[in-house]
Symmetry: C2
Subunit: 350 residues, 2 copies
């Protein structure tokens, strides 16, 4: 985990100084951390009778982010949420973060500090401790690798594999917003061109862009679903609903009926789709990175879960039913017709 | 941890198929792994009365490796060793591995499989289980991020911060070999040009290239030092001896005298340096990635440790003494003269 000295010869950033600055800036007193940043490996105590959760995500410049449409702080925030959301989808509590950063020649100290600031802003509400990482030069663009460690009670982790035919399919929050926000940014920074007639209120615009740049990991929802053993399976929507529902079906060996008319779409997302003459449902199915939770539960828990969610101000929507595997994954249109759910992104669907 | 669907649209690799292939190929039955690859996060049981070790390393194309001079299997092997070596330097036992891979358009399925093969070859002797990762497209070159989780007995982790003035400074194995091996490869593939007179036996060449491409993590040595509480501090030599000694001194708030004449240099490394008219000591001080362990111990354990090392066929060499911080880090030349140890790479020193 020693940061590679090669950085020094290739970048204006004096890495060891930088690491010391970051250590001081993001220091937290966590009694379970014996040794954080600054050794060959971080050392943490193990908790008896707990399960550990480990997730890793990588983001690469030009694929996952573009410095024309997002600041380094936004990128850090989103990188953290991608990982926090994986822990949320397991019903766990995040604890420790490790960060790998490959910095191109154009990267400055300020870029790195802003990245950490954004990342730690997303982590702070959950008391996540930064315990290590690696920093290096990059010959081509930024690369970001985050590993997040969490914890959960044994036998309460929400897996993708527990859905059973007859279970109901639920979604937290609304979907399609992050995709609409990204498209708005692409239009604003000249990467794509909006139709001449396209109009959208500033409030909607702001909402959608924020949903893209500063998404929310549904940790409270995931922990609640896990603690009460409500959910039979769960996943976070990071690839797009269509792809993520497919993962649940594959891992649980089931099919599903997705009720397209009941998809939770925000007013802003609907307004964006209308202004661009797009199908909001297609946007919602294909667009990724909303970081909402898709989960299943037995119909006998339905009323209990819906009542309890309301009490906690959790927004959840029933969007379909789990079916036997041989029925495949079907989308039920608003007219009641069934057709196979399209798999690939950006296909028109109604 | 869901692999990003974006890969599909940009690369010929069908990622989910690929992950399934890798899962099957590298499956191990480890009862502590509740859920490995295939969910939002991996789930492992915690061990009571143990400490966990976490380390992460990143490698980027054009900085850490070059596909002209190394195969994907070599790169995978070295990436694993970089992490295994961090666990070795803590005196720990490696357990779980997570792998992030950003694949450029030129990357093929075969590249990825070879990378995993090399990586798992390095991990197999230590029964490390592959529990997760992330895969994505890359707009610019390969990017590899590995996170390794290990375990150790509480209070026995070898930290960088325990060296005390008067302690002896030791090194396992020989150093400078990996740097010589890298330079040989650079010459062979026309990246640099050897002097006309340069000659080196095939056996030496092979030894040095292997030390670069297939280094050894000193796990047995680290565990032995930790179990018997011999070492007061330890680090692995990944940045070059000069830089890594500096880390120990900084973290322990001490200085050091490094006895340059006693540095353990292989015959092959000496022969390479002679053939290129280089100073072998400069090569050894600056060249990184030997993955040997640099450690300190109290002089009262000297004879016990040296005897015990011999019995176990561990090659260790005393290369200096820890001094009070105000004396700084000095190199003692073969003629007995002291001068400050150069910090930067590739400076002539004798």
């Amino acid at each position: 985990m020693t940061p590679t000295a090669r950085l020094k010869s290739r970048s204006p950033i004096h890495e060891f100084d930088l690491i010391r600055t970051l250590q001081q800036r993001h220091r937290r007193t966590d009694p379970s951390v014996i040794r954080g940043i600054g050794d060959d490996a971080a050392v943490v105590t193990s908790q008896a009778r707990r399960w550990s959760l480990l997730t890793t995500d990588l983001l690469t410049e030009g694929i996952h982010f573009d410095l024309r449409t997002a600041t380094m702080a936004d990128i850090g925030f989103r990188a953290a949420v991608a990982n926090l959301s994986d822990i949320a989808a397991m019903g766990g509590t995040p604890q420790y973060l490790l960060v790998s950063l490959a910095i191109p020649r154009t990267g400055t100290r300020q870029h790195v500090l802003q990245f950490y600031k954004g990342m730690m802003t997303a982590c702070r509400p959950y008391h996540v401790t930064l315990i290590g990482g690696d920093t290096s030069a990059s010959a081509n663009g930024w690369f970001i690798g985050l590993t997040l460690v969490g914890t959960t009670t044994p036998h309460k982790a929400l897996l993708r594999s527990g859905a059973r035919a007859g279970d109901l399919l639920y979604l937290t929050g609304t979907i399609g917003d992050a995709e609409a926000g990204l498209r708005l940014l692409n239009e604003q920074f000249g990467k794509t061109r909006p139709p001449h007639t396209a109009k959208l209120s500033a409030r909607y615009r702001q909402f959608l862009v924020k949903r893209h740049l500063r998404p929310t990991a549904r940790l409270a929802e995931g922990q609640w679903l896990s603690a009460h053993r409500f959910a039979t399976s769960a996943i976070d929507v990071s690839d797009g609903l269509s792809g993520d529902l497919r993962h649940i079906c594959q891992e649980s060996h089931v099919g599903a009926d997705l009720d397209v008319g009941s998809l939770p779409l925000s007013l802003a997302c609907r307004a964006y789709a209308a202004s661009r003459r797009l199908d909001p449902v297609a946007l919602a199915l294909a667009g990724g990175e909303d970081y909402e939770l898709l989960f299943t539960l037995s119909p006998r828990h339905r009323s209990e879960v819906e009542r309890a969610a309301k009490l906690r101000q959790f927004c959840i929507t029933c969007i379909g039913t789990i079916r036997p595997a041989q029925q495949g994954i079907q989308a039920i249109g608003q007219d009641g017709t069934k057709r196979p759910l399209p798999n690939s992104s950006y296909q028109h669907f109604r």
